[in-house]
Amino acid sequence: MKRKISLTVNGKSRAEEVEPRLLLIHYLREVAGLTGPHIGCETSTCGACTVLLDGKAVKSCAMFTVQVDGRQITTIEGLAANGKLDLMQEAFWNEHALQCGFCTPGMILTAKQLLADNPNPTEAEIRKGLEGNVCRCTGYQHIVNAVKAAAAKAGA
């Protein structure tokens, strides 16, 4: 039995009828047609599916679409405003904080949340803040550099 919901995805409001069991990640990828949020584990352990829900980073593989009725979702596609990259996207690019890129959208959104909570994190705080997001390529060092660089730029 499908349920009616309405939500906002990257600033656009949408009205949908969805199966109650439809995972948010599948809604975003299969219904809303997005390619940024990725499926890496389906057990909420890797963070590749991370999106912002009302500004807070959540793992969209561990939520049902019906749970976000009336709420706002931001995916990586929603970050660059008018073609201008977000500070964190730019920092990831400058610092070579990605290789295969599969974890990157989730990692960037988690990093944004991290800086929103703590604008001047230490290295240990950055590492702790990113522990829910797995990257298999970079060894995290350049990601730490990117978050530091974004923090410095935001504070400048």
């Binding site: 940024g36 690019w93 990605l98 290789q99 890129g101 950055i126 060894g139």
Partner: protein, 775 residues
Amino acid sequence: MATTTKTETLVGKKIRRREDPRLITGTATYVDDVKMPGMHHACIVRSTHAAARIKKVNIKPAEERPGVVVVFTGADVKDVGSVPCVAQLPGLRQPHHHVLAQDRVYYVGHPIAVVVATDRYIAADAADAVEVEYDVLPAVADPEKALAPGAPPVHPQWPDNVAFTFHQEGGNIEQAFKEAEVVVKQRITSQRLIPMAMETRGVVADWHAAEKSLTLYSSSQAPHLLRSLLSNIFGIAENRLRVIAPEVGGGFGSKIDVYAEDMLMTFVSQRINKPVKWIESRRENFLGTIHGRGHVDYYELAAKRDGTMLGLKLKIIQDLGAYMQLLTPAIPTLSVLMMPGLYKFKHISADIVGAFTNCFPTDAYRGAGRPEATHGIERMVDILAAELKMDPAELRMKNFPAPDEFPFPTATGLAYDSGDYALPLRTAMETVEYSKLRTEQQQARKSGKLMGIGMSAYGEICAFGPTPATPTGGWESASVKIEPSGKVTVMTGASPHGQGEETTFAQIAADELGVDIDDVIVLHGDTLLVQYGIGTFGSRGTAIGGTALYYALQELKDKIKKYGATLLGSEQVTLVGGGCVDERSGKSVSFAKIAAEAYRPMKLPPGADPGLVATKFWEPPNFTFPFGSHIVITDIDPETGQVSIRRYVAVDDCGKLINPLLVAGQVHGGVAQGLGQALWEEAVYDDNGQLVSGELTDYAVPRAHMMPWIEASHTVTPSPVNPLGVKGVGEAGTIGCTPAVVNSVVDALAHLGVRHLDMPLSPQKIWNVIQGARS
């Protein structure tokens, strides 16, 4: 739009990557992002037992579900060929590897049926509805247990579970052990690991019956190889078979293989005449994508009392799993080639026993055979140092070949290309202030603290490789097209999956042609677009693919000079900033003008054809041999057994660096996977062949807070094997890491009588050792 030219060189500089804009905006296309009209979805029913006869498969409950199109079982695919293995060894026992189990399953996760439906959820529900009745058989999941008398046979036709044996000797090993004043022996394991690329595998197959053509998207490191093998298996003409490796989310070796699912989706699409997609779940990725390592090694090292190393004996028991994947049996032979490490052994003897187990096959995972060998020899050197009461660094230095001994012939038949092996070790020792640390360690021990200093001096065999040594083919290809507007398109056969070749290859092309890097694009991964190629693995992308590109560019430069000379009416011109200059007259012609004229040849140079396109296939004359030293300082909590890494210093020599930013990324990522093996990761099968660490929830890959800061630097010894002087760096971090970490932890516990510990060095394992020593 005119082409800009420049004189600033880019090779050797930190250039941010050209592939990143699509990746940081979420607009890249991975396999799961591919959608086609009429596309169906497949879900695979897998065995829940490691060894069993299949009594009955009831697909009816699945077929009856709305939205299910068809269900195939073993009987449907019995005439489809075997999942391919291209590595051959004399006497290799190779079971036919059906894409769906026939009457028997051989490992947990073995595909039994495939459900095809109009929707992913429907396919998954229907797969759950398939009923399989098993007659469960005893299984064996440990290679040494598999080789013991009375073990359950994995394949009934080969009751000893031996897939092959292999022997190699160099020098006179008996003589070496006769002359020895000291012999040290140790059993050393390299545990099974899960490669765990962030993107699981996935396939979209699209068969067009009218044209007898297939387009196959697959998350692959070697799309042309996949095309050739599929063409052969299915009898689809190779020029009607297009394989696309779109954005590939990491591989680490695990995506070189052709898998049952590549074949199965081809089969399904041919049967339903519609596109079909299969995306591997993480659980399936753990159960059904190749694993790495899986060694039990027995070492004996013969030496003189002054530390001179004489001979090395090695017996490898390789856990192969139940089948041969693409390169499975070849991997331990690489361990044999690498067994002397960086040391001047004149005498070696090696034996491999390849053991069948009821597990998924092992194959190439980051380092592929070399990490096992390096871990072994570097542990043995530390064990010898402890036996001789020598400093481990001094013992290493004593046995390195000197820089003027290259090319250095090894007892395993290799010729190491170039090296100054003491240099990175000395550099790392200076960085950590080695002798001061040893004094600090003495003090720490007195106060009951556990502090370790561990090192590795590793070598690698990279740039795979000369074709005789590389079952997939060892050359690589590049094409360069200079368009009439002067824009440059590079097509590389070395299809990357995160390495950044779109950037490094553009740097090489921009420098050689003297054009702006923004005028260069690098294409890869599509067999319709790109000339035949081999792929990216074995740290070969830049050393071989980059060299093929270099030579293609030289051909174009010769042509540009010919055109330039004709346009200027000169005898001789030089290339400056992409254009040509007649130095006597001072006249010049721009790159853009030459490019345009090459396609409008009103004044054709003598003997020249129009156009500016070159393709080069390059076969390397030798491997390259990167090397380096890692030093790791650890502190161990005596109450919990927890290892913390105080400093991690990596000094790597990968020859010349094309882009230091990307090289650093490779080193960091490599070290992370090495640390994963040293401290946390292990694919654990229980005695029944159940994969206990079968999900990311139970398998400890390194996370940000687990990683130390890596202090990475380089020494630069150019390789003479290729004109770029590069050696390769993709696997260095992983290879150098594990022995340095384990040596450090053993060093911290040495005064408690500890001589060796096997990975992973879990707190529990270390706590038990400390408790044992105290009691």
